[in-house]
Symmetry: C3
Subunit: 260 residues, 3 copies
Amino acid sequence: VANRPRITLLTDFGTGDGYVAAMKGVIAALAPDVLIDDATHDIAPGDVHAGAWALAGYWRLYPSGTVHVAVVDPGVGSGRRALAARADHRFFVAPDNGVLTRVLRETNEPSIVAVENERFFRSVVSATFHGRDIFAPVAAYLASGSSHLDLGRAISDPVTLELPEPQRSSDVVRGVIVHIDRFGNLITSIPGSWVGAGAGVWIGDRELTVRRTYADAAAGEALALIGSRGVLEVSVRDGNAAAILAVQCGAEVTVRLARS
Amino acid sequence: VANRPRITLLTDFGTGDGYVAAMKGVIAALAPDVLIDDATHDIAPGDVHAGAWALAGYWRLYPSGTVHVAVVDPGVGSGRRALAARADHRFFVAPDNGVLTRVLRETNEPSIVAVENERFFRSVVSATFHGRDIFAPVAAYLASGSSHLDLGRAISDPVTLELPEPQRSSDVVRGVIVHIDRFGNLITSIPGSWVGAGAGVWIGDRELTVRRTYADAAAGEALALIGSRGVLEVSVRDGNAAAILAVQCGAEVTVRLARS
Amino acid sequence: VANRPRITLLTDFGTGDGYVAAMKGVIAALAPDVLIDDATHDIAPGDVHAGAWALAGYWRLYPSGTVHVAVVDPGVGSGRRALAARADHRFFVAPDNGVLTRVLRETNEPSIVAVENERFFRSVVSATFHGRDIFAPVAAYLASGSSHLDLGRAISDPVTLELPEPQRSSDVVRGVIVHIDRFGNLITSIPGSWVGAGAGVWIGDRELTVRRTYADAAAGEALALIGSRGVLEVSVRDGNAAAILAVQCGAEVTVRLARS
C-alpha cells in the first residue's frame, strides 16, 4: 500500500516562539505533499523521559512509512549525535539522548545510523536549533523515500535511559510511578499482566482496590486499574490522583498478589 | 462536490501524554488520505459544557462530509453509550454525555446511532481510552464513506445538557454567563436579537452600555456587545472582563429594554 | 514547481474556545485541498510584538505560494485596516497593527493592499471576529490562486512597530532584550555579526562570556551566544535565564568589543 507519507513532530518547544513552525516550513519546502501531524509540543522543557513515554504511546499506531521526529534536546550543540532509525517499518529522527529508548526496546532489530551527511542538512547549521537545521530536513528526505542508510554510518550503541524495572516474587510485585498524565493519573512500571485477580495495590501507606474502570469506583475514590498502555495505573475517579495522593514520579508502588 | 474528507478532533486530553497522537495514528492507518484538523485539546478535563460550547462554534463552518470528533469523556468505561450522528450533512462521533447537545439543538432531524458494532473498533478495547479504541477508528470509517447506520442501532434519546434558557418579558431579559473565553469575555445565554437599541445591561450591581464593538468603549471600560456567536457578551476593552469584574460561569445578566 | 498550497495560522486565540477551529472550517469550506498548518495559537493575548517576532522566524522557510495568516488583533472592530501583502513570493494576511513589521523589513518591495472587497468576506461580518469573517476567507482565496490585488487598493503606509535599533561604536554595542522564549532564553536586538571574538556581554551588572553553544558553559552558568535567529542571546545552561537573571523584555544589553 502506498500510504501518503506522514511526519509526526514531538518537541518540548511549545508553539509560541515560532520554533515549531520553522520546522514545519523546512519540511513543507522540501516535501510539499507530506502531511505533518503535531504529536505534541508540550513536553516539559528538557524532559527526555516524558518525551520517550509519549512517543511510545503512538508510534506503532501510525502506518508503515511514517517518520516520527522527537526533539527534546537539552544537549543541542554539544557533541551528542543525531540519530535516524528504521524499526518495524517506521522511521525515527531524534537526538541521541535516550528519547528513543522505549521505541528501541519495543522493536525488532532496529537499524540505527548517526546522522552525519551534511548534504541532508540546511546549508547553515546553528548551534542551538537542530530541530530546524538537521532533524526537519532529514525527516523530509526520509518521508520522500530516501534511505536512512544514506544519512550516516550505522551505530549500535545509542544512548538509552535507565528505565526502572519492576520486580516480582511469588506474592509481591514492586514498581514505581513512571509518568503522570494531564488528568493526574499515575502510570506505573508494572505490567498489567502481572496483576492477578484479587491483588491489593499499595502506594505509600494507602491500599487501593484494583478495578476494571473508573466507573467501578465511587466518586472521589482512589483506585488501581490496568490502563490504556497495558500497565498498572493509579487514579481517583473524577479527580486528580497526583494532587489528591500527593505523589510524584519515582514513588514506589507495591502489589500484593492473592494466594492462588 | 467531492471534498477531500476531513476529521476534526476536540478533546480534553492536552497533547503532552501522546493520547491525541494515538488517535491520529489510528486514523492515519485506516484512512491515510484524510486530513486531520486539531480543533482543540485544551478543554478543561471533564468539562462537557465547555466542549459542547466550543464545538458549536465551528462544526457548521466545515464543509459537508466533515467528521467532527468530540471526546470529553469523564464516564469512559462506564455504561455510557458511544454515539455517531449525521446532521445537516456533517458527521459527529462522541460519548453520550451531552457534548453534542448544542449541535443537536441546531440541526434538523439528526440521525443518531449508538455505536455498538465492534467490527469498527480496534481489536482490543481498553477500559479507559475509547478515543483511541472506538472514536478514532469509527471516525476514520465515516470519513472513508461508511454509513453511520452501519455502526449500530438508531436511538432517539441522546443525553443532553440542561442549557440555561433566557427569559424575556416586555421590558426585561434575564440570562446567565454560559462561557468565559481566553480573553476573559463573558458570553451569555441571551440572543443578540433580543437586545434592542438603548438597552442597559446589568451584571451584579454594575450597569454596562451596549456598544457595537470594543473600540467604541474607552480603554479599560466594561461594555456589552453582540459577539461573534450572535449572543450578548460582556467585555472590558483591552482587559480581561472575567478577572476585572470577578464573574464566573452561571452569573446572572439582566437586560433592561428601552421603552419603544 | 506547483507546490500544494499551504496556509499557516498564527493567533493569540488559544484553541479552547473553538475560534481557531472556526477559521479552519471557513478555509476548509472554501479551499478543501489546502493544507493548514498551525503555526501557533499561544501568542499572549494582544501581544503584537510577540506575534511579529514569531512570524519572522518561519515565514521564509515555507515554500513559495504559502499564505501566512497572523491574527493578533486587539483593535478588531475599530477602524484599523485589514492587510494582504505579497512579498518574496509568499502571501500575508493580517490586521494593520504592526504584526507584519518584521516581515516587511526583511522583504524586497512588498506589495500591500488594504482588504476592502467584501466579495471575499463571509456574508455577515461580526464586529469582534475578523479572523473567521475576513482573514480566513481571504487566505483561502489567496491559496486558491486569487491575486491579492483583487482584494483592495494598494497602500504604502502600513502601521509598523518601532523596533529598538541597536547602537554601535568602535568598542561597544548597545541593545535590548526583544523576546523571551519558552526556555527562558533572552533574545536581543544585537546582530550576531556585530559581536566579535573576545567580546564581553553585560546585562545589568553581570558579565557573561560569549560561547559557541550551551554545552561550552558549565551547568547553571549564564552565557551569551549567537542564537538560531542570528542575533545575540543570553541563556543559562540547563536553566531558565529569564527567571534566574530576573530579566524582562526591554532590559539593556551591552557588548564590550575586544580591541583588535
